[in-house]
């Protein structure tokens, strides 16, 4: 088919990209992902969004603008992920995401394709949504159903890669059939807590993962922890959080605190993110009450400087090594 769809590299790209990609692939619709975030994209995003929204969503505006401007792309796909597990919503801003984009880029309204995703609920709801997306391109229902099944299986494979101890970026490379560098085992293991779209966006977080690698520190990311472990942490908090991603982050954080092999925790949140305000404080208070592990909170914003972050991460790693008696 002669259609190209753009997928913005931001927000839920870092969770569900393989699902969408394989769905469009099966229908032989070409997909283009926007380039990784850079200064220009971020500035564009700031220009088109309201000022008090969080920096991750601002950045997403930039990615969408980039794709909309591209003449070779017919449509831009904007997902609306409403629930990710039973009774757990995503952030209100992300639930309104297609509407925000349509309002920010009102002239390109017809180029935007949206899809409402109720993940972790009845199978039929998800299938219906894919049917709706497919029907935009006059594809037969039978074909779409096959594509949906293919996408689901493909996504399952991807999730298994993630559960086998690969983070999203590594798993994505493996899933796409590329090789990944073997990491040498390090003496130091740090847990990183946060939303996937903050952790894996190298520009937004000032290259945190790279910095840790150069300091030869091993890390484990909150979205790599399987659900059954997370569920066990529920009794440690006063009330279950009702946002899936914050729930994952908080419970992974609690798991990291309990696990002896993990020596320190870095909490990453973006400026203006209301949900991380809650789980960050809960995590801090729990840490204070119980194990008192080294815990660093990094808030990223439009001005996150490379140098300042470098110093903080180095100091944090040094502190842990000193605590272990290595320095």
């Amino acid at each position: 088919m002669d259609i190209t769809i753009g997928i913005p590299r931001g927000l839920y790209y870092y969770v569900y990209y393989p699902l969408w990609k394989s769905f469009f692939d099966y229908l032989s619709i070409k997909t283009v992902t926007s380039i990784p975030t850079n200064k220009e994209i971020l500035n564009e995003g700031i220009k088109y969004s309201v000022d008090d929204i969080c920096v991750s969503v601002k950045c997403y505006h930039g990615h969408v603008k980039k794709l909309l401007d591209n003449k070779n792309i017919d449509y831009v796909f904007i997902p609306r992920v409403i629930t990710e597990s039973k009774g757990k919503h995503s952030c209100p801003k992300l639930i309104a995401l297609p509407d925000l984009m349509k309002n920010a880029f009102i002239n390109y309204k017809n180029k935007i394709i949206e899809g409402d995703f109720y993940i972790g609920q009845k199978e039929k709801k998800l299938l219906n949504e894919f049917l709706k997306i497919g029907r935009n391109f006059d594809i037969e229902d039978k074909e779409i159903k096959n594509a949906y099944r293919y996408a689901k299986n493909s996504f399952k494979k991807f999730l298994n890669l993630k559960l086998n101890g690969h983070n999203f970026l590594q798993a994505l490379d493996l899933w796409e059939g590329k090789d990944i560098d073997q990491v040498e085992k390090s003496d130091l293991l740090i847990g990183i807590v946060g939303f996937p779209y903050d952790i894996y966006d190298d520009f937004l977080n000032g290259g945190l993962l790279e910095k840790l690698k150069t300091l030869s520190v091993d890390f484990i990311v909150s979205d790599m922890i399987p659900q059954f472990i997370l569920r066990k942490q529920t009794k440690k908090i006063p009330k279950d959080l009702f946002w899936h991603q914050s729930n994952v982050a908080l419970k992974a954080g609690l798991y990291f605190l309990a696990k002896k092999e993990i020596q320190g925790i870095i909490v990453l949140s973006s400026f203006g993110c209301g949900l991380s305000a809650i789980y960050t404080r809960l995590l801090e208070l729990y840490n204070k009450k119980t194990v008192k592990k080294p815990l660093m909170i990094i808030t990223i914003d439009e001005q996150t400087g490379d140098a300042g972050l470098q110093t903080r991460v180095e100091a944090f790693v040094d502190m842990i090594r000193m605590k272990l008696g290595e320095l």
Binding site: S49, V50, D52, I53, R80, I82, G87, H89, S90, C91, P92, K93, I95, A96, P98, D99, L100, N103, A104, I106, E114, D116, I237, P238, K239, L241, F242, W243, S269, F271, G272, C273, G274, L275, S276, A277, I278, T280, R281, L282, L285, K288, K289
Partner: protein, 375 residues
Amino acid sequence: MKKEYIYSFPRMGYSYIGFKAFFEAMDKKVIIPPPRNQEVLELGVRYSPEDMCFPFKILLGQYIKVLEEGANILISLGGYGPCRFGYYMPLHEEILRDLGYKFKTITIEPPIAPWNIGIPKFFHMLYDLLGFNSPFKLYNAGRNAVYKMLYVEQLEKKMHYLIPREVRKGETEKIFEKALDILDKSGGKNFNKIKDAFNEAKALMDNIEHIKNDNLIKIGIVGEIYMVLDHDNNLDIEKKLINMGVDIDRSLWVSSWTLHRVIYRKKHREHMMNLIKPYLGEFIGGDGQESIMNTILYKQKGYDGVIHILPFGCLPEISAKEILTNVSHDYDIPVLSLSFDEQTGEAGFVTRLEAFIDLLLQRRGEGLNEIVSGY
């Protein structure tokens, strides 16, 4: 010796008069939180997470004050998202316990699955809140509270009508305070006394001399419920506007909130989602969708402009703010979004309101600053 329970609840506008009546009729002691002041603000900001929404910080400051005064039971509403309000109480509790306060909390929220835990928890909450009391006593207390709340709202609406039209500047405000005081102090358990007090207060306000004029600029107020209702925190925006000589209509009252969100929930939501479909396809929690709906409704009712009030960092309202720019464009109605936080200053704020009213006057084709002379 049996420990004495002293209750406290969040303060929101004048609604405390109703809640207080409820607890007084139940023979329970209550402490009303102080209105926002510098001390409350500083306490709240110091102990809250930085990115938390503004009402959270104010409430935390007020809770600290009432706990120091001796309250030991805090009552609040709850919920299950996607707005952050549902998680206020657990987080408040964690922070306050970390500060070393000892107290009990009661969160009023509907039961959820798993039912084997949810339903007993719900009844436990009801017992904590109401205790073993005769149904008659409960009914009486509930009725007193509801009526007082409705009476206060009537008085407020009267004040909104009278101030732009009064003959002697400032008279209405003084009489309103007096009327409110009469209502607040009235009754106790006796419903008839509350009724009498309301009639007395109403008569006081009815006697204010005013000029009939139905051609004032009309502004609708939409936004997040706490910021709209709590006049201490929105820098008394309503009184400022009516003193500038415009008519205002508030889209949210405690009574209308209860009607739309609790009693006729389904009908309200259906109507709302139909109306705002071109702008917002999904329920985003809080009052975000209501803000969009009410802006459209105000246009249909012939209002001149809409003021959108939101606390800084409010998740649903930020989305609404971005969407409202296009609603404003499509429906041709000016919308002013004002976001409040601990640093919002009074001076710049008044200037913005004046400029907004000037704009509305201009759109009507009337001269500048003719009506806005009194402020």
